[in-house]
């Protein structure tokens, strides 16, 4: 293995050479019947936050099947095998939660990868790590990538407060997805 190959494989930004497309995938307008992938990065409360958001989207916007996926490590972008599986199986992706430096950057990097693959995606970070997420978007050549920022913290909250974070996230997620139609 050459040095350059090793560096490419270990690049924690996930920035592939030539990956500079800053164009969003086509927005769905309606979520009715769409298969939604929930990508959990294993940070505490990620699963609960994603489930709360999906429940709202099911009840109020008529999403179809909900599929759950789990990354094996929160600090780096998603591995290609799981990425390809998700792209093949869902219509939109919601991924959470970036509530640390590396995981907020990785959550945004994941979102950009899905957008470039044509999958509308909502990446969720906490507001304390907005700079990390935005910097990753810049490094990825997608400075206009928008992501949801919920109030920090997330990991230490009980279920009632996670419900509150979901309430913050849903309107922003709908805006980012371009959804205007209620089921």
């Amino acid at each position: 293995m050459t040095t350059s190959t090793r560096e490419a494989l270990l690049d924690p930004t996930g920035a592939a050479e030539g990956a500079s497309d800053g164009t969003l995938s086509p927005r769905p307008v309606t979520l009715k019947g769409l298969t939604v992938g929930l990508l959990d990065n294993t940070k505490p409360n990620s699963t609960l936050l994603l489930d709360e958001i999906a429940a709202d989207l099911k009840r109020d916007y008529g999403i179809g099947e909900i599929k759950h996926y789990v990354k094996d490590y929160f600090g780096t972008p998603i591995k290609d095998e799981l990425f390809q599986q998700i792209v093949a199986e869902v219509d939109i992706v919601i991924t959470a939660v970036g509530d640390c430096g590396s995981c907020s950057a990785a959550t945004v990097a994941d979102g950009i990868m899905f957008e470039r693959a044509g999958i509308p995606t909502v990446s969720i970070t906490s507001d304390s790590f907005a700079m990390s997420g935005q910097a990753m978007a810049d490094v990825q050549g997608f400075p206009g990538f928008q992501f949801v920022m919920v109030q920090h913290p997330v990991a230490s909250l009980d279920s009632e407060h996670i419900r509150g974070r979901a309430d913050q996230a849903v309107p922003e997620a709908l805006r980012i997805l371009g959804v205007t139609e209620v089921a």
């Binding site: 924690p12 930004t13 640390c100 700079m131």
Partner: protein
């Protein structure tokens, strides 16, 4: 406002962000118009949470843009894997 205060102000919000993961941010002049930003781990630092170096460099360079200084480079804690 002194130049030192200006750099401190420019890096203040990122210093807070790093502190949330248990890291301490300091900086030193490097020549007349550049600064070196150093990240040190505290006892409670989350090793896996450290922002990747290219991302951190991007943040610092932007943060310093309104000041009279440019980023020379960022130094991560010894042994940092990012």
């Amino acid at each position: 406002m002194s130049e030192t205060t200006s750099v401190d102000d420019a890096l203040a919000s990122f210093r807070e962000m790093m502190a949330a993961d248990g890291y301490l941010l300091t900086w030193d002049p490097a020549g007349e118009d550049k600064v070196v930003v150093r990240i040190a781990a505290t006892d409670g630092a989350c090793e896996d949470c450290l922002v990747p170096l290219p991302v951190m460099t991007n943040i610092m360079a932007k943060a310093l843009a309104p000041t009279a200084y440019e980023l020379d480079h960022v130094e991560l804690p010894p042994g940092a894997t990012h």
